[in-house]
Symmetry: C2
Subunit: 452 residues, 2 copies
């Protein structure tokens, strides 16, 4: 095997020196540090890395988005002179409400749909309000593992963070543990993504029902990060107006705020546009303590006037029309957005197979008794190794991934994002994994022929 | 006169009822509430209002911006799929550094120029860092009057605000008062705009020099809101690379952060793109207390990674290219941006004349002995009236403006923004002002013939 793997494993001296000079701990390394590290390894050794560390779209955007922006800039060239409405362009608000109805069967009004500068912006404002409604309820509870930057937002806002690992708790045990935390009165918001980044765990409807009941009973705000909306490819959620509908907490409580994103489902990460959907009832609820930070006691007004206005004074005009056009096409059925991103699931299935046949295991392998779904991410480890040790070895074999420790779990492992890997790289992936396996185990396990 | 003024004054009953139903105090009314109020008056009475309340551009954007965006969307349609670099698109960073050199003669590096989602975003992050570098130095000191939303940002961030009114303090008295506040150790940042919104006061170089010295001595961050960059039309700052250069605090301290905007100088408000320029030395300063909120002790890293990343994960791609193209054209001398916006100054001169010849006075009339410059805003009052009373009367005569109380001064008066008034409306303005004057004084003072 080893003659086919070219330069791998790379010599350790250079990597060791970089890690020491930069004081990098491979448990704690941020994506940014890792990117710089890999760039220097690429430079030094002249090899190509297989990049699993970024959670970024790997598909070109559908033409619908750019075309909508171009049209606006050509037909109404004065648009850039006009401040966007702080609560969003009416077209996008209407398109969002219809999209939500078509794909979740939930009724919301355009006024409940507030455009944001990417989903990050929605999550930031959502946390600010959820954690500053009620004096003392200033903790955001996370269902971990999760997106590390959400916790940086909590920190920016001066709020506290707590964590429940969905590795340890699922089903009724998860509900019981959440209730134990809510009962302290310290929790202002509960934040999760489903499908989950990085484990691709999808919460079951019975779990969402239990969580919804607790959100209502304890008046905690459910912040549903819907970055991977509908991307549980075990179901076909792609037909507008027809079941099955994308599961959401909105079926189970009025205390929800759904943070939609355009980065993954529409590959529209670059124009920073998204929408947060606030429950129609929550929108008009009053929390006197909110005045202290957001100058109003009304939840919806705090989001728009106390949140959007004060941070960015609205969302870029033409990007709002791009997203509106994408929602419209999806709702009409003229653009099947889930069909397009299904490629990630197919690729995940093949990549997982390669990892598993070369001595790796999945960290989050099960989804309440079922095998974990194939999607944008999966999580790997080798028995007996720490995530730090494994990432170190992977780097020597031209493979980069994100250590799970940064995602809020104590589990050892590495997050693998499939988005940037091309079909023509799978053979190379098989070779490197086999060589790595040989190095670590002393025996080859897989060849490119294993790729199906 | 009065037969020419059509329906004015409007009957008071409808306005009184609206004010009562909405619990609106015309001292405190926000622009948003005022807009809604005027919309209902327009609807009810079927009259057109002259709108002075918005501080928004009234010119179409130069074609340079939309053209740059269209080109990118056509030539590189994959751009929207790519996350922007968190510290900004290199082209815009380079164009900003050159623009700053050409128009202020200050040297900064591209790395010091961080794109933001509008200037609002820059001010928000700037305050967050300035007020959370040093434990206890958590107050933002404002040179008032000012833009009300900056104080909502302070509130969002859980920081404290203090105010010095430039009506009461100028020159050495201003410096002495600032030093008195800095000496408490509680001030983290000093925020001002020059030209000032709403008074159009321009700080003198001797004032900037004094402020710069204090910022350095007391380690306070100067946040220079440069929304009206170069728009003191008494000077011609429009020639790149040639004196006179736009005055800036950057000549007098390393403790500065300049918040540039594209909304007014380029009429590019709608795409929410701007740049904050951090002093090269400040960029690399370390403040250990910053870690608590921004996860790093490095000022520049806190801005980018702890600020931009956590709030919006970057600035829309194509809008960054639009602003880069505008800076490039201005720096080349192919687009004289100040010539284009000079129309605001000419209009202000004519509008002021109408107000003054109809019994109004300027609130901020002087700029250290000189008459106040003509620009985007001016401030008016009538002797013996409060701002609340005056706005009430103006509304009955089809005139809308912003009460000065909302801008942080105790002075009575109304902010007049000239941007939305067309030349063909000046005659109507003269008629309404004369009718209002007649109503309040019992005698006409001006006719349309006074308009020069």
């Amino acid at each position: 095997m080893s003659e086919q793997t070219g330069p791998f494993p790379l010599e350790t001296e250079f990597l060791d020196r970089l890690l020491q000079d930069r004081e990098i701990d491979l448990y704690q390394v941020s994506i940014r540090e890792l990117t710089r590290l890999v760039a220097e390894l690429v430079d030094h050794f002249g090899v190509e890395y297989l990049r699993f560390e970024f959670g970024i779209p790997g598909l070109p955007p559908p033409a619908i988005g750019p075309e909508a922006e171009i049209q606006l800039l050509q037909d109404y060239p004065q648009t850039p002179a006009t401040y966007p409405p702080f609560d969003g362009v009416p077209r996008l608000k209407q398109a969002t409400a219809r999209f939500i109805k078509q794909f979740t069967d939930i009724d919301v009004l355009p006024e409940n749909c507030i455009p944001t500068v990417g989903a990050m912006h929605g999550g930031f404002i959502a946390q600010s309000i959820a954690g500053r409604r009620i004096e003392g309820a200033d903790t955001i509870l996370y269902l971990d593992p999760g997106f590390p930057v959400n916790k940086l937002q909590t920190q920016f806002l001066g709020l506290k963070a707590e964590s429940i690992d969905i590795y340890d708790y699922r089903g009724q045990e998860l509900i019981a543990e959440i209730e134990r935390r809510f009962a302290t009165g310290k929790i202002g918001g509960l934040l999760w993504s489903s499908p989950n980044n990085p484990s691709w765990v999808c919460l079951k409807d019975e779990e969402l029902a239990g969580i919804g009941r607790l959100l209502t009973d304890y008046d905690v705000i459910g912040i549903e990060d819907a970055a991977y909306f509908g991307m549980d490819f075990r179901q076909d959620y792609g037909l507008p107006g027809k079941p099955p509908f994308v599961p959401t907490i909105a079926n189970h409580t009025d205390n929800y705020l759904m943070v939609l994103s355009s980065s993954k489902i529409f590959s529209y990460a670059g124009q920073r546009v998204a929408v947060s959907v606030i429950s129609p009832k929550l929108m008009h609820r009053r929390y006197p303590y909110l005045r202290k930070f957001h100058n109003t006691d009304l939840f919806g007004h705090a989001f728009v006037h106390g949140g959007i206005y004060t941070t960015t004074a609205g969302v870029p005009q033409t990007a709002q029309h791009a997203l509106a056009a994408l929602y419209e096409a999806a709702s009409d059925g003229s653009y099947n957005f889930l069909e397009r991103v299904r490629v990630y699931g197919d690729r995940a299935r093949r990549m997982k197979q390669l990892f598993l046949s070369n001595g790796f295991e999945l960290v989050y392998a099960e989804d309440m008794g079922e095998p974990i779904a194939d999607g944008f991410y999966f999580t790997v480890i080798r028995p007996g190794m720490t995530g730090r040790e494994l990432l170190y070895q992977m780097l020597l074999f031209g493979l980069a991934g994100l250590p799970l420790r940064t995602t809020g779990t104590r589990r050892e492992g590495i997050r693998i994002c499939v988005s940037l890997i091309r079909d023509d790289q799978l053979e190379e992936l098989a070779l490197r994994l086999a060589a790595l396996d040989e190095q670590l185990q002393g025996a080859p396990r897989a060849t490119p022929d294993n790729v199906s």
